[in-house]
C-alpha cells in the first residue's frame, strides 16, 4: 500500500516521460518479439533493461526510436502518442532522443570534432553554435585533446565517449544506450557508466540496455528484466536477475 502511494506521489511530482501500454510486436505470425509490455519511466530516471539475446530489449529500443511500429499497444514519449505520429514529424520527435550503440557507429572519414558536429549539422544548428557546443561537449567526456583525431586513432572507450558526446550535444530529454559497454574492457565500461550517471544527475532520463551483470548489480538503479518478449521483473534499485 505504501509503495503504491509513493508511486502515485512520484508520478504527480515527476510525470512519466516514457509510457508503454500493452505493447506487443511480432515480426512473424505467432512469434512475439515483445508481448504485452507495459512500462512507465519518469523524467530523470536511470533505468537498465536487461535480458538474454532475443528477450526483446532491442525491439523495445527500436520502437522507442520509431524505427519500427508496435503490432499493438501504445507508446507515449513526453506525453505524445508516437504510434500515431505522422511520418514528417518523426525527425523532430527524434531530436528529443540521444542514442548510443554498442559498435559506436562513428563516421570513419571524419575526425572527432566533425563526428560530434555532425549531430548538430543535421538538425541545422548555426555554425557559430556548433563551434561553441562541440568543444564543450568533448570536454565533458574528457576528449578535449582529441578534437582532430580520427576514429581509427582512438581506443574503444574513447570512441564510445565520442559517440556519447554526439548523443548528448543536442541536449536530448532521453538518452537511449544499446549495449554501450558491449565492446569495452571493464575500466572503459566503468568510465562510460560514470559519464551516463553524471548525465542523468543533470536531469536527462537514461535508459540502458545491457548484459553487464557487474555494472547493473553495482549501480543499484531501476532494473527491468525481459525474457522471451515478456517483462518478468521491474525493480527499483535492483540487480541482474539470476534468471538471465
Amino acid at each position: 500500500m505504501k509503495n503504491e502511494v509513493d508511486e502515485l506521489l512520484k508520478e504527480s511530482i515527476e510525470p512519466p516521460i516514457i509510457v508503454l501500454e500493452n505493447v506487443s510486436k511480432s515480426y512473424q505470425k505467432d512469434v512475439d518479439a515483445v508481448k504485452d509490455v507495459s512500462i512507465k519511466i519518469r523524467k530523470g530516471e536511470f533505468v537498465f533493461i536487461v535480458g538474454s539475446s532475443g528477450s526483446g530489449k532491442s525491439t523495445l529500443i527500436k520502437m522507442l526510436l520509431k524505427e519500427i511500429e508496435p503490432t499493438s499497444g501504445k507508446i507515449f514519449v513526453n506525453g505524445r502518442d508516437i504510434t500515431r505520429l505522422r511520418r514528417r514529424l518523426v525527425p523532430k520527435f527524434r531530436r528529443n532522443l540521444g542514442i548510443v550503440f554498442q559498435d559506436f557507429r562513428l563516421l570513419k572519414d571524419r575526425n572527432v570534432f566533425e563526428n560530434v558536429a555532425f549531430a548538430q549539422r543535421v538538425i541545422e544548428k548555426p555554425s557559430r553554435t556548433i563551434q561553441r557546443n562541440v568543444p564543450a561537449m568533448l570536454s565533458l567526456v574528457g576528449l578535449s585533446d582529441k578534437l582532430n583525431a580520427f576514429p581509427r586513432e582512438l581506443s574503444g572507450g574513447e570512441q564510445q565517449r565520442v559517440a556519447l558526446a554526439r548523443a548528448l550535444v543536442n541536449n536530448p530529454l532521453i538518452l537511449l544506450a544499446d549495449e554501450p559497454t558491449g565492446n569495452l574492457d571493464p575500466k572503459n565500461s566503468w568510465d562510460i557508466m560514470s559519464l551516463l550517471d553524471e548525465v542523468n544527475k543533470k536531469g536527462t532520463t537514461v535508459v540502458v540496455v545491457t548484459h553487464n551483470v557487474e555494472i547493473v548489480d553495482a549501480m543499484q538503479k531501476r532494473v527491468i528484466t525481459m525474457n522471451k518478449g515478456i517483462l518478468v521483473s521491474d525493480e527499483q534499485k535492483g540487480g541482474y536477475s539470476n534468471e538471465n
Partner: protein, 302 residues
C-alpha cells in the same frame, strides 16, 4: 533551408562525386555525349533553318495578268495581295523591265540579235508582280488565293522546292528529337545508378542522420546536389568542345568547299551559342535533378 545547410549539401555532394568517381565519370560522360550530339543536331538544324530562311526569300511567286488589263486593275490586284499576312515583299515588274532583264540574262553578248527587236517588246503582256513570302510553307495556300483573283492569268511558283525544304526541315527535327530523347533516358538511368551507389556507400551515415533527427530534405539534398553537379559538368565539357568544333568547321568548309558557300549559309558562332549554352546547361542540370530525385525518392525514406 539555411545557408550553412546549403553549403553542407554542396560539400557532401562534391564529396559523393569524388568517392564514387568511376560511376560519376560514367554519368558525366553519358550526359556529355548526349549534349554533344544534341549540340551537333542543333548546329545542323539551326543552320539549315537559317539557310531555308534565306532560300525562302529567293523562292518568289510571279503573278501575270490577263491581256488588255488596265493599270488600275493591276494596282487593285496588288492591294489585295499586300493585305495578306504572309507577304513579305511585293514588287511590280513592267513589261519593259521584264524584257530588259531577259535581254541582259539571255543575249548579253549578242548585240545583233538584240538590235532586231529594237522597236519591239516580245514580252509585251508579261508585266508581273513578284511576291516573296515570309515562309515557304505558306506558298500553296497563297498561290490558291492569287489564282482566284479576277484579272490574274497565270501564277508561277516553285512549290516543290518550297515543300521539299520545309519537309526536310521537319524530318530532321523529328529524327534529332527522337535520338536526343533516347540518349537522355540513358543518361537518367546512369545517374540513377550512380546515386544508388552513393546511397549504398553512405548507408551507415544516412542511418545515423535519420536517428539523430535529420529531415528528409536534409538527407536527400546532397544527392540532389550530386546529380545536378554531374549534369552541370556533363554540359560544360561538350559546350567547350562544340565551340571549338563549330568555329573550325565553318572555317574549314569556307576554305576547302567554297562552292558550298553559295548554297549553305552559316550562323555566327555567338548567335548559335547564345541559345545553345542556356539550353544545354538547363538540360544537363535538369536531367541531373530528375535522375537523382527519382533515386532518392525510391531509396531514402526516413
Amino acid at each position: 533551408m539555411k545557408i550553412s545547410s546549403i553549403l553542407y549539401s554542396f560539400k557532401q555532394g562534391i564529396k559523393n562525386i569524388h568517392r564514387n568517381r568511376m560511376f560519376s565519370l560514367a554519368s558525366i560522360g553519358t550526359i556529355a555525349t548526349c549534349l554533344f550530339l544534341f549540340g551537333i543536331f542543333y548546329f545542323i538544324l539551326a543552320n539549315f533553318q537559317y539557310t531555308v530562311k534565306i532560300e525562302e526569300k529567293s523562292v518568289g511567286v510571279s503573278i501575270f495578268f490577263d491581256e488588255n488589263i488596265t493599270e488600275e486593275q493591276i494596282e487593285q490586284i496588288g492591294n489585295q495581295i499586300k493585305q495578306r499576312e504572309e507577304v513579305a515583299t511585293l514588287e511590280y515588274i513592267s513589261a519593259d523591265e521584264a524584257w530588259e532583264k531577259y535581254k541582259q540574262d539571255t543575249f548579253a553578248d549578242e548585240q545583233e540579235l538584240i538590235d532586231t527587236f529594237a522597236e519591239d517588246n516580245p514580252l509585251e503582256d508579261s508585266a508581273s508582280y513578284v511576291v516573296y513570302l515570309d515562309e515557304v510553307a505558306k506558298q500553296p495556300e497563297f498561290v490558291e488565293f492569287v489564282q482566284g483573283i479576277d484579272g490574274v492569268r497565270k501564277v508561277n511558283n516553285s512549290d516543290k522546292l518550297a515543300q521539299g525544304l520545309s519537309d526536310f526541315n521537319l524530318l530532321l527535327g523529328y529524327v534529332s528529337g527522337a535520338i536526343i530523347i533516347l540518349l537522355l533516358a540513358v543518361a537518367i538511368f546512369l545517374i540513377n545508378t550512380t546515386i544508388t551507389m552513393g546511397i549504398s556507400v553512405r548507408k551507415e551515415e544516412i542511418s545515423i542522420m535519420k536517428l539523430i533527427g535529420a529531415t528528409d530534405y536534409f538527407v536527400r539534398s546532397p544527392f540532389i546536389v550530386e546529380g545536378m553537379l554531374i549534369g552541370l559538368m556533363g554540359a560544360i565539357f561538350p559546350l567547350i568542345l562544340l565551340y571549338i568544333i563549330y568555329n573550325q568547321a565553318i572555317m574549314y568548309i569556307g576554305q576547302k568547299f567554297s562552292i558550298l558557300s553559295n548554297i549553305l549559309h552559316f550562323l555566327n558562332v555567338n548567335h548559335v551559342f547564345a541559345t545553345l549554352i542556356p539550353l544545354s546547361l538547363a538540360i544537363g542540370v535538369g536531367i541531373g535533378f530528375i535522375g537523382s530525385m527519382i533515386t532518392v525518392r525510391k531509396h531514402l525514406h526516413v
